[in-house]
């Protein structure tokens, strides 16, 4: 019967597709595991106290670690302050201007980070004369982080049930008080998740830092201006191409440290999301 013949080839096709999708999924996951394997297998033998005490002048990466944390901290302070309250504006006071701002937040996420970096170079390093500086880098990172913090804050605040807010308004509280005391408490995990993700992104950035912070082989002197800063991603990029074995080790150990940070932030974010859904 015609349908019987067609049927077996249809089943063959179906089985093949099942196998193909599985294969492709494994194929994409393989590099992930390979990456982790490569980094761990190259970094672990080189892990030593020296790595974490000395700077890139000699045989360590302490300046890169401290520098990365310094830059991320500085930019987070700015990005979170700006981003969270921008999110408050979008969530609490809608309207035309809010959609206008939302549009630009989306556009901003699409700007390549190198373009942000070059902008930072032109305006802060050159025009404003700050030179290679932590502040220039921090503003570049802030520009990259803000849209994420803003939008996640907005979504988190929108999820606050209106009954809770109405209860507060009914007691005579102002919008500011309601948001600060009530909404934030409810939306905190969601907001934190957005912050963690934005921090993770900024930790992994290189291009915008190359021409704002440049690189520094010594510990950052915590000056905000006129002083370049070292960071992990530069070490990975620049040192891997050097012929010295030590440089390679430094690159891999930096990768290891960076991956640990990224993984922790990612796990932290997932944990927070799980807790949020439970509440």
């Amino acid at each position: 019967m015609k349908s019987e013949k067609g049927l077996s080839s249809r089943k063959v096709v179906d089985k093949s597709v099942r196998g193909l999708t599985l294969l492709v999924t494994l194929l994409i996951l393989a590099p992930l595991f390979d990456m982790i394997y490569i980094i761990v297998s190259n970094a672990v033998p080189s892990l030593s106290l020296d790595m974490f005490i000395h700077t890139t002048v000699t045989d360590g990466i302490l300046n890169a670690i401290v520098g990365s944390l310094f830059l991320v901290l500085l930019s987070s302070v700015i990005a979170v302050s700006l981003g969270v309250f921008s999110g408050v504006y979008l969530a609490e006071f809608g309207g035309r201007s809010a959609s206008f701002i939302r549009f630009f937040a989306d556009v901003l996420t699409g700007v390549p980070s190198i373009v942000v970096g070059y902008f930072g170079y032109i305006v802060f390093v050159l025009y404003l004369g700050w030179g290679y500086s932590a502040m220039a880098a921090a503003i570049a990172l802030t520009i990259i982080m803000i849209p994420y913090v803003t939008r996640t804050t907005e979504f988190a605040l929108r999820k606050v049930p209106s009954e809770i807010k109405e209860g507060s308004y009914a007691l005579g509280a102002s919008k500011a008080t309601t948001v600060n005391r009530i909404s934030f408490r409810y939306a905190a995990p969601g907001i934190m998740t957005g912050i963690l993700i934005a921090v993770s992104i900024s930790l992994g950035e290189t291009a915008p830092l190359i021409y704002t912070a440049y690189f520094y082989n010594y510990l950052p002197n915590l000056a905000l201006f006129h002083s370049p800063v070292g960071y992990l991603t530069w070490v990975i990029w620049a040192f891997i191409n050097e012929p010295l074995a030590l440089a390679h080790q430094q690159a891999f150990v930096s990768s290891f440290v960076l991956m640990v940070f990224v993984l922790c932030l990612g796990l932290g974010a997932r944990f927070l999301v799980a807790r949020w859904w439970k509440s």
Binding site: K2, S3, L7, R10, K11
Partner: protein, 275 residues
């Protein structure tokens, strides 16, 4: 109808027709101690029930009595529920469809289904009806055209849509959409049609058309109808089964079940004491 050659002699053939009634009352679908478990809970309990060929059999009962679950075992749509397990047998003709080696794709061609809420595909009317035949290998346009026309006629929808077959199915009214779904189901020439509360989402005139359609359709198909609506069962079904809490309480000719129920539970349901 069965024709039996009696004698070939003197250049004459004599045939004997056996009674039409007895062959048409063979069971097309047979449930034998069918049980369905959702997880650990025995939802459907040891039901044995026959559905006669070319007849409409209704399954009715209060919500949660298991009638839709039983329906879904007949075309193995129960497989879609991850926690469901079956025991017992469901025979379509002589094949036990619950057997794990039984081919589900072919089964669903022999046993079609119409759902509670009309679910036309986001395509044209033509493409909806042609969907089944295309899947099963029919490609030539002329053949498909004929199938679409026949199926729409069989569903009583042809005259209303014949000039707009390329229109989107979603543009039809609810009742028309349901008849389209029936056309789609019969386009693959099934032997059995399962109808899961097919009129519950329709307005009265749409419902009426579908009910009249069922009475026509049974000439060519075996219909199994799940319904909440006792009056509908009384109007449309030849046989009625009453289910309660997963068990088969009573089964018989519709007239008898409604006017002279054998079980007290049946009587209480019919007179509206619960359900």
């Amino acid at each position: 109808m069965v024709e039996v050659l009696i004698e070939e002699g003197r250049g004459q053939r004599v045939t004997l027709m056996t009674s039409a009634a007895s062959s048409a009352s063979d069971a097309k679908v047979r449930l034998e101690t069918l049980s369905v478990f959702y997880g650990d809970r025995k939802f459907v309990q040891d039901i044995s029930l026959n559905f006669k060929e070319n007849r409409v059999t209704a399954m009715m009962g209060p919500s949660g009595c298991g009638k839709t679950t039983v329906l879904k075992t007949i075309n193995r749509m129960i497989d879609l529920v991850p926690s469901a397990r079956t025991e017992g047998s469901v025979f379509v003709d002589e094949d036990n469809v619950l057997d794990s080696s039984f081919d589900v794709t072919l089964l669903r061609r022999r046993v079609g289904m119409v759902f509670q809420k009309p679910n036309p595909f986001p395509n044209s009317i033509y493409d909806n009806v042609a969907f089944g035949p295309r899947i099963h290998g029919t490609k030539e346009k002329k053949v498909l055209d004929q199938i679409v026309e026949d199926s729409l006629k069989g569903a009583g929808l042809y005259n209303e849509v014949k000039d707009s077959l390329s229109k989107q199915a979603s543009a039809l009214s609810g009742g028309q959409q349901q008849r389209l779904c029936i056309a789609r189901a019969i386009a693959v020439r099934p032997e059995v049609l399962l109808l899961d509360e097919p009129t519950s989402a329709l307005d009265p005139s749409g419902s009426l058309k579908v009910e009249q359609l069922m009475t026509e359709l049974k000439k060519d198909y075996t219909l199994v109808l799940v319904t909440h609506n006792m009056q509908q069962a009384a109007r449309v079904a030849d046989f009625t089964a009453f289910l309660y809490e997963g068990k088969l309480v009573e089964y018989g000719e519709t007239g008898q079940v409604f006017e002279n129920p054998k079980e007290e539970l049946t009587e209480r349901y019919i007179t509206g004491k619960f359900g």
